[in-house]
């Protein structure tokens, strides 16, 4: 099986307020269908790494590959398209567009991609919602549902374009144990049933132990 994502010697500095070497020689890969978790103390650079991997942050040295393709150095316009097509992202704070309905939130990335008709997109979005057991919320305004539900909507949105990899930055960090368990079960099912690759930053020891592999970080380095 090939690598979905690979980094080679990624280094990053923050220049303000003073020079700070936040990521040091980060080299690793994620296999197709692998469920990987990243752990490490607060401030060790996990989020910073994830932003680079998601192509939103381009201010680094080293190389980032998605599949066999070198991503580093591509223009913004193309990076947006890559994010849209191949990368799903779930944040700690379930960011949804509060003025749109749940269904519209889920459909938006697919509408941007514009590879399918409106009806097909709607069908796909409802499928994802059904899979996450929240199809009854489809017509609700995104601002009117609970935190656990919002996070599931965010996951549905991340999945709508069938990405190569799903990244999460402490996606359960803001949820109670019941909802955390729920989200973990969803992730587990996604890798096992659909062969989706997952890269999830977490503080939760239990959560991490049940993934295929744990990457430990300390002071901007991968230590194991």
């Amino acid at each position: 099986m090939g690598l979905v994502l690979e980094t080679k010697n990624i280094n990053k500095h923050f220049h303000k307020p003073k020079d700070f070497h936040v990521l040091k020689d980060i080299s690793f890969g994620v296999q197709e269908g692998e469920f990987v978790s990243i752990m490490g103390k607060s401030g060790c650079g996990k989020s910073t790494l994830l932003y680079i991997l998601s192509t939103m942050d381009t201010d680094y040295t080293g190389e980032l590959y998605l599949g066999d393709e070198l991503i580093t150095g591509k223009p913004q316009q193309e990076l947006s398209r890559i994010r849209n097509m191949h990368i799903g992202f779930v944040f700690q704070f379930h960011y949804l567009l509060s003025e749109f309905s749940v269904l519209e939130n889920v459909m938006l990335p697919a509408k941007k991609l514009a590879e399918k008709s409106h009806a097909e997109i709607k069908h796909d979005a409802l499928e994802k919602l059904k899979m996450l057991h929240i199809e009854h919320l489809a017509e609700q305004r995104a601002s009117r549902i609970s935190g656990g539900e919002k996070q599931r909507v965010a996951i549905a949105r991340a999945l709508i374009n069938n990405p190569a990899i799903l990244m999460g930055d402490e996606p359960t960090g803001n949820l109670d144990s019941h909802n955390s368990e729920n989200v973990f079960t969803i992730f587990k099912r996604l890798t096992e049933e659909q062969g989706l690759s997952l890269l999830v930053v977490t503080h939760d020891e239990d959560f991490a132990k049940r993934t295929n592999r744990i990457i430990q970080m300390e002071d901007g380095r991968i230590i194991s």
Partner: protein
Amino acid sequence: MINWKVILNIAKTHLLTKMKSTVTAGLGVTFGIAAYITLVSFMTGLNQMLDDLILNQTPHIHLYNEIEPSAKQPVAKYSEFENALNVVHSIRPKRSQKKIHNALPILNYLKKDKNVRGATPQLRAQIFYLSGSIELGGNLVGVDIMEEVRLSNIQDNIVEGTPEALKNNDNGILLGAGLAKKMSLTVGDRVQISTVAGDIFPLKIIGIYQSGIAEIDNIQSFSNLKTVQRILGEAENFVTDINIKLFKITEAPAMAEVLQRQFEIKATDINEANAQFETGSSIRNMITYAVSITLLIVAGFGIYNILNMLIYEKMKDIAILKATGFSGRDVQLIFMSQAMIIGIVGGIFGLLIGFGLSVLIDNVAFETEALPTIKTFPVNYKAMYYIIGFTFALISTFIAGYLPSNKAKRIDPVRIIRGT
């Protein structure tokens, strides 16, 4: 590749959920455009009316003989005094130089010129209007009335009677309105006129002429050219003025100069005669545009402010859109579309309201003795002003929308998601 459907859908949702700000911003544009349309329609209507009033009464080129002393005095013709210092005191102009010598050849020449729309001969005679024991001094202008109707707005100023009636009556007169009033005469009455030489003629009033300018209406009347020539006892080639209308008014100054040299005659062109008048028009135009542009700039600031606020409120939304694959350009287009939608909708309402106000003004009664043909305020409905107004609205909203939307384009999603 730009996906307009999604972009416009997001823009629409933003505008609808922020209805109050949207309406406020839109109203700014509406007022600016409505004010522009109303002002420009009314102001140019006024200009047009004054143009008609004065310019249309003035020929593009006016040919006449100025009474002035001969530049070359007879003494200069004597060879004996060639090298002497000749001093001539109290030079006076020679009398009766008013006649244009070669009027008929000049008229023929002009009628063949393809820049000339028409040339009409006139004979201005000083006369007295006799009314009982009173003698009123004035002018009688002999004209080719049908040519005048074709080339000038004299028809508008004939408030009673018709030009045809004058043409068909060898003893007819089109009496100045002020004169008719002074002498209590109406159409069908007879008026006695006396020439400077003292001959008295009765003429039949077949119409009343009112230009709106009291100085003219109080002294001037019209008659057929032949009638006036007969009254003065002059031949058929006796003409004092030739009025020329051109196809292109801008050619008047150059042509006047040529004619002046060619025929050794005085030729004034319309621009010379109405130089001050033009300044009035351009000042009115300046006021119109200054007021409208000020209003639109204010409206532009309104849009700028509201979009800035909106973008500040929507930072998170912008970050999410960018994280899920919308490019900076998409985000910019979302906010640009909002500005343009406000501009288009506000602009259309502005045009409608401006049109409504123009119609309202157009129907306000405005009757004045001075302007016999005007019954309501003059308004100029030109499609061009509506096009200019709408373009104004689009340009000002574009500029107002560009700066904030450009800021949105450059927002770094990572910074927003981090929450710093």
